[in-house]
Symmetry: C2
Subunit: 418 residues, 2 copies
């Protein structure tokens, strides 16, 4: 179950920091990769060395030595699927539903995704930035060090660009690494009611070129579902995106099987996300094309879904499973990876090791960042979290507490618990 | 849906603190009891006055005025069912189960409640105190201001007394109010294997008198279930407890219907807890005797139960429903009321108002403390939380974040968010 990192390398010269007396779960190759009684050295923004305590030189000539007192170090969480930028609240809608309101009642009261679109369009860029900043600050306290953020609550050119501009500002202002994804094809905007093909043309002919021109997103996503866009419509979006040089990914098979996954995988998608209704054929296409399965148990839980993604098929075909918060105000107001790990285990049946790999190395893979993020290996970014837990499994087992001690990003200590 | 407090009282003289510009959900009588643009005055350890901002005198001659900037004040959470004192971890067991281990495998590996009993017996009183203190400190950050703590991981006289002594020390050392419950009849200790009647005699003849003599618990609980003790056995425990002057309560109908609830209600139990398998007849007995239904969705979730408690019956019979964390290392490692509120709504179907009443006034009722705790009313203890939320429903809707601004207990500010 565990893969130890190569410890044959001698301790390097010129390291800046050493974290001593720790237990490390490297998560390399998706396994715990546990080293007990270990030390981790950082040079600049990168991990320089990980090895046993007794391989440390007698004298450490570095700027800082941190004694971890046998606590655990794991890679920082990579949250590879969020809709973190929005305005407005959907708590009222949550409450109305519990009080017995129908979807029609909620729509009549101005609820649903349209309410978030309306509030996000109305909000200034600064307001959106402030709201999202505070979510990013909370994410930091939860050990999340890399975040993907999607647009998709604008559904018009100006607001989509505004959201992506906010993502860019967050990337500069927050310690976490952020990747921005254009999700114009998230829902049909009210202005295009009954004209979904026209909206798809707007995306491919107007929005995508503008996003490309501004250079403010690296990936393009779409929602392929009966309540959103058809496979053919999402194909047009992804095809245009690929021509323009974007990475692509897809919200697929969440509520029904539209075979969007097979299409997206064949187009080289980095990931397909949700996947509760995925067929074996679709999974085979993912395996053939190296597409990551992104599992989103928060949305499954909030929507009271019953059908779980086909884990056994993913395992048999060796498809990497990532897990993510899907943070959004409607179907997954989940502001931490800790409950996601827990739900991935209890609701979907992942093992703790699979869930933790999903929140680290496989999350990084879903973003095309596995060369830099998601595991503790020499040469990778020094993004990691020191946890006050008895074992990594505690992070999946606990509810209502996040036992973070310290969060390090690119070699800098960005958060300490009080 | 809302009940406004009586605002006819004039603003009192000699108040110590005033919290101005707030929105208040008093939770009096189990309703939101919302007052917008309100103020709350504290005198000593008690609430002196709640009323509209425009009823405040022009000059406030008190020690401290806090402008709440339109944030929400709710009563502090009353967690009326916890097993907060234990040693050892059960994360390994959680992980083994996800990896496919059977209960027999886990027992063979030393898991299950017996492992917690073993670790708790082996731990010194100081160790137990330190472990529990840190849980209480975390509870404070979660807005929990009153906590019931049960013994029940000793199952021998010395360790049961040790646990209750720790509860007493916590009550002195922590800002929260703690009530201690003796739960000797939690499980059959290994020494009494196949001799459960003998263990019940040990409880009634040795343990209960000793607990009474030391005056270190106010209530007695027992676990009436096929895997624990029979209705007749738990009856003996509760009868002895009543004779000795303890309040009584019961873990009942969690995994099957043993009719323990009807029995306990007829004996005047403060609460019956779990209740997934409760019959209508049992509920009728609760209604007739004023017994509170304590719902524990954390255990339901962790145990992957499917049968929910009969909410409609509780509603029809006007039985107060409390909700609690059931914090324990086996079936509910839930360290906050926020996920409990969420699960109560999403898994059990409580409305947000019912869930919040369950965590406040009905929790207080389940502890016999409704005259002092659980709602914001003049004369009651000044235990409340200022929340950075748009509406009280947010506390049920959010996951992975606890938007506490300030926690006040007995008039003192005991926690502020950073």
């Amino acid at each position: 179950m565990t893969t130890l990192p190569d410890t044959s390398n001698p301790f390097p010269e010129n390291v800046d920091q050493v974290f001593t007396h720790c237990r490390v779960a490297t998560m390399a190759k998706g396994n715990y990769g546990i080293m007990e009684n270990a030390a981790l050295a950082v040079s600049g923004k990168s991990i320089a060395w990980i090895g046993p305590m007794d391989a440390l030189p007698e004298t450490l000539g570095c700027k800082m030595v941190t004694n971890c007192r046998n606590q655990w170090i794991l890679p920082g969480f990579v949250d590879c699927h969020t809709h973190l930028i929005w305005a407005g609240s959907r708590a009222k809608e949550f409450e109305m539903r519990l009080d017995g309101a129908s979807y029609a009642d909620i729509a009549k009261a101005g609820g649903g995704i349209v309410s978030t679109v309306k509030a996000t369009r109305a909000a200034s860029e600064n307001t959106l930035f402030d709201l999202a900043s505070s979510r990013m600050a909370h994410f930091l306290t939860q050990g999340i060090t890399t975040v993907e953020i999607k647009s998709g609550y604008g559904l018009d050119l100006d607001t989509e660009l505004k959201m992506l501009a906010v993502a860019g500002r967050l990337n500069k202002a927050c310690p976490q690494h952020i990747t921005a994804t254009f999700l114009g094809a998230h829902a049909l905007p009210p202005e295009f009611a009954s004209r979904s093909d026209d909206y798809i043309s707007e995306i491919t002919q107007v929005m995508l070129p503008a996003v490309k021109h501004q250079g403010i997103a690296t990936a393009v996503d779409a929602f392929c579902e009966t309540i959103a866009f058809s496979r053919e419509q999402t194909r047009q979006v992804l095809e245009t995106a690929i021509v323009l040089g974007f990475a692509v990914k897809l919200h697929a098979e969440q509520l029904s099987d539209s075979s969007g996954t097979a299409m997206a995988a064949q187009m080289g998608a980095l990931s397909c996300d949700h996947l509760e209704y995925l067929s074996t054929e679709g999974a085979e296409k993912m395996a053939a094309h190296g597409t990551v399965a992104v599992l989103l148990p928060g949305a499954f839980y909030y929507l009271k879904e019953k059908k779980v993604p086909p884990l056994d098929v993913f395992r048999r075909l060796c498809i990497p499973m990532a897990v993510a918060t899907d943070l959004n105000p409607g179907s997954s107001p989940v502001h931490s990876m800790i409950p996601v790990l827990n739900m991935a285990c209890l609701l979907f049946g992942l093992t703790c090791e699979e869930a933790l790999a999903g929140a680290t190395i496989h999350g990084a893979k879903a973003l095309g960042l596995a060369d830099r993020k998601g595991s503790l290996e020499p040469g990778k970014d020094a993004d990691f979290v020191i946890w006050d837990v008895a074992s990594p499994a505690d992070l999946c087992y606990l509810t209502g507490i996040t036992p973070v001690k310290m969060v390090v990003i690119a070699g800098r200590t960005e958060h300490r618990s009080v």
